[in-house]
C-alpha cells in the first residue's frame, strides 16, 4: 500500500513469512487470502505471490475503465482531453478543499466516445500532493482513470449516483438536448485517509446504465454496465 513494493514485486513465500512474523502458516495464509480478495496481490502456485500489476478495480468501481467498457461491445473507443489546469490557489468549495487538505490539485475535463458518440463527460480533480507523478503524466491521449488505477493503490472509495437534467454545458458536450436525463456518478478515492482523486461522470440517460449481479453478502458476481442504442 505504501508503494515501497512496485507492481510485480515478489513477496516472501508463506514459510518465510511464518518465520518473519513468528506465526503459523495458516495465519499467514488467512492474511494473504484477504489481500488477494482485496486485489492487492496475486498468487500463483509454484511461482509465488506478487504485488498486483493493475489495481484490480472491484466490479462496483470498474466504471472508470471506459475503454474496455466500450470495446468489449464491439464499439470503437475514443478519448479526448477538453481541459487541464493546475490549481495551486485553492478556489474550491469547502468540502472539496477539505478532501484535498488544501493541497494543489490537477483539474481535468475529459470526454469518452463510443463510435464517435460522446457517452461520458468527466470532471476530475487529482491531488498533486498525494500523486506527484500526475503533473508529468500525459492525459492528452490516455484517460486519467486508467492511469490512476495502474499507478496509485487505494484503500477506500465512495460513490454517489443520481439523475439530473442536462444543463446547457452538459448538453453541448454530450451532444444531447437540454433537459435530457443524465446519470451522474461522483466518486472519491482515498489512500490511507489521504484524498487521491474526485470525479464526476455524466452519462446520457438513454445510453448508459450501471448494473451488477450479487450475492446476499454484497459480493458482486458480475458487473453488467450497458451501453444502449448504439447505431
Amino acid at each position: 500500500m505504501s508503494g515501497e513494493w512496485q507492481p510485480g514485486h515478489r513477496l516472501p513465500n508463506e514459510h518465510e513469512l511464518m518465520a518473519q512474523y513468528s506465526c503459523a502458516r495458516m495465519t499467514v495464509n488467512k492474511v494473504m487470502s484477504g489481500l488477494v480478495t482485496a486485489g492487492l496481490i496475486e498468487r500463483r502456485r509454484r511461482a509465488g505471490t506478487f504485488v498486483s500489476r493493475q489495481q484490480t478495480d472491484s466490479a462496483i468501481l470498474q466504471i472508470p475503465n471506459m475503454r474496455e467498457e466500450v470495446t468489449s461491445r464491439g464499439a470503437r473507443y475514443r478519448y479526448r482531453l477538453l481541459a487541464r489546469t493546475v490549481r495551486t490557489h485553492v478556489e474550491l468549495e469547502a468540502e472539496t478543499f477539505e478532501f484535498f487538505q488544501g493541497g494543489p490539485v490537477l483539474e481535468l475535463e475529459c470526454l469518452h466516445y463510443a463510435d464517435d458518440r460522446p457517452f461520458s463527460y468527466e470532471r476530475r480533480l487529482i491531488s498533486l500532493a498525494a500523486v506527484h507523478h500526475a503533473e508529468e503524466a500525459d492525459f492528452s491521449h490516455f484517460p486519467p482513470g486508467t492511469w490512476l488505477m495502474e499507478h496509485v493503490p487505494w484503500s477506500e472509495a465512495s460513490h454517489r449516483i443520481g439523475a439530473l437534467n442536462a444543463d446547457a454545458e452538459i448538453a453541448r458536450v454530450l451532444q444531447v438536448a437540454v433537459g435530457e436525463a443524465c446519470l451522474l456518478v461522483e466518486r472519491r478515492t482515498w489512500r490511507l485517509r489521504e484524498g487521491i482523486t474526485q470525479v464526476s461522470q455524466f452519462f446520457p440517460g438513454d445510453l448508459y446504465t450501471l448494473g451488477a449481479r450479487f450475492a446476499p453478502d454484497g459480493q458482486i458476481r458480475t458487473r453488467t454496465n450497458a451501453l444502449k442504442n448504439l447505431h
Copy 2:
C-alpha cells in the same frame, strides 16, 4: 436457505457439526463465518448460532427499506398501495416470462412518501409459484419489499441503475414535471435460480441519490443513500 429452519432457529454448535460432518472444528468455523458474512446466521458466544431474524439485506441492496431510509432522516414515512393484480394468464414480455418461468405473478404498484412528498414509485412483480404466502399478505399497509426481506431468503440478485425523463404517468404519480430527470433502479432477486421478485423503482432525480463507501475488495463499509431538498 430452504426455509426448513425458521428465523430464530438455533443451529447445532460447532462440536456437534464436527461430528455430523466428520471434519475439524476449524472447517466448521470457516463455513459458519461465511454464513455470518452472508447474513444468513447470527452467532453469540455462550448463546449459540441462530438463523437470522431478518434478512440483513446487504448495504448495496438496502434500497428497499424505504421506511428506515426516510425515518432515519427525521422525515415522516407514509406508504400507499396503488394497484394490486394477480396475473395468471401471462401477458408479460418474453424476458419477464422467462424470469418467472411462466408461473402466476402478483403485480403491485406502490408509492413511498417522505413528509407527504412522493419520493419513490415502485412497480413490482412477485412470483406466486415461489412465494405462496404472498397472495394472502396484506400489502395495503406494509410495503412488499420489507415483507419479502423478512419472509423469503435469497441467494442472488441483480440490479440496473439508469436515468430517464419522467413520462406523463410517472410525473403524475411522483408529482414532478414531465421531463424531470428520474433515477430508475431495477432489481431482480433469485432463490436458488428460481425467480422471486422483480421491481422497478423510480425516484425524483432532485430528491434521491444512491451512495456507498467501500474498500478495494468491493466490501461496502457504509451505505449513504440520501434524501435531499426536503422542506
